[in-house]
């Protein structure tokens, strides 16, 4: 566990993960799709995705799920993300501005876990990806 681990006692209901941008540049999507084997053109090529009726190359749903986990780790280094439930409501497009938010919405003193609401906002302020997480803190 790292020195800067966020302890359960330091967290309160309603605490927020500072809003930040998700790296959904096409080059980063490439890194993810190569590692995950999701090498389909709709994820990796704007033009090909447009031909398939998308506004641009789509960020894979599980990449957005992984981004949520990464943002939780940034907020609480060393924590354990025990459960991560993500709802893909609309496509998230690569090379667009995507903001990520998280907020503590439940706490379990005994288990030292918090539940979090997670949202991704696109440039229109809509939430194409939402989720919840169960996170065990130090």
């Amino acid at each position: 566990m790292s020195e800067e681990a966020r302890r359960f006692e330091d967290v309160d209901f309603g605490d927020e993960i500072p809003e930040s941008f998700a790296d959904v540049r096409l080059a980063t999507v490439h890194v993810f799709t190569e590692a995950s084997g999701m090498t389909f053109s709709r994820f990796n090529d704007h033009q090909a995705a447009r031909k398939q009726g998308m506004p641009g190359a789509v960020v894979p749903g599980i990449m957005s799920q992984g981004i949520f986990a990464a943002k939780i780790h940034e907020w609480a280094p060393g924590c354990e993300v025990e459960k991560l439930d993500t709802v893909f409501r609309a496509p998230l497009i690569a090379d667009t501005e995507v903001r990520v938010r998280g907020v503590v919405t439940d706490m379990d003193d005994g288990a030292r876990t918090v539940e979090m609401d997670l949202t991704m906002l696109n440039e229109a302020g809509e939430t194409p990806v939402i989720g919840t997480a169960l996170v065990r803190l130090a």
Binding site: F13, V87, V103, T105, D106, D117, T119, A124, E126, T132
Partner: protein, 210 residues
């Protein structure tokens, strides 16, 4: 008083919020909200009793249902045993005229929600089926509205002479309170909410929580 008329808890298949956490959230954030309605998808939750939470947080917590018709989704306020036996709440193809007529017969009140949304919204079916008869109120402000959905709903409601209400359509805790309905009169029960909706002393409000 201000009520958020459209929310989902973990009782809904896609709901991720526990009701007590909605209450904690409203208190913690100091939301200008006197209560909220849980409108679970395709079911009537006759079991849950939220009176203890109402007392603890000083909130009114009412229950309704969100059913599915050929004209899209419809909130039904004032569900009772008679209405539960009138049609199958789990059916995704209940005729809207049945929902409206049975709600009226049983002392309930039906409100098409997110009416400008494709497929699940009432207005999107007017070209195919014609304007729905018997509708008085629609949800003009929905917290999940994308693009111009809410603006279109307000515009079309005015065009067809429908009154408007607001609801967040929250599925996670932090989304409650984004759209509400402000009533001129106090409401303390689902029966009083139905009576209020039959009148016109209310308005939909959108709340900027950012």
């Amino acid at each position: 008083m201000k009520l958020d008329l459209h929310n989902h808890s973990i009782k809904s298949d896609d709901g991720r919020a526990k009701v007590d956490n909605y209450c904690k959230w409203i208190a913690k954030r100091g939301l200008d909200l006197d209560g909220f309605v849980l409108s679970e998808h395709r079911q009537w939750d006759g079991e849950s009793d939220y009176r203890a939470l109402e007392d603890e947080y000083g909130l009114l917590i009412l229950k309704a249902s969100e059913v599915e018709t050929e004209y899209g989704h419809v909130l039904v306020f004032g569900v009772n045993d008679d209405l539960v036996n009138a049609f199958d709440f789990a059916d995704v193809r209940i005729p809207l005229r049945t929902v409206l007529a049975e709600a009226k017969r049983c002392g309930a009140f039906a409100v098409p929600c997110h009416p400008s949304r494709a497929i699940v919204g009432m207005f999107s079916h007017f070209d195919e089926f014609g304007p729905a008869e018997g509708v008085e109120v629609v949800e003009t402000l929905n917290g999940g509205g994308r693009g111009t959905e809410n603006d279109d709903a307000v515009h079309l409601a005015a065009q067809y002479g429908y009154r408007g209400v607001g609801g967040s359509d929250a599925h996670i805790v932090s989304h409650i309170g984004r759209c509400v309905t402000e009533f001129d009169d106090d409401i303390a029960s689902i029966e009083q909410l139905v009576t209020a909706l039959q009148g016109d002393r209310y308005r939909a409000l959108s709340v900027d929580l950012d």
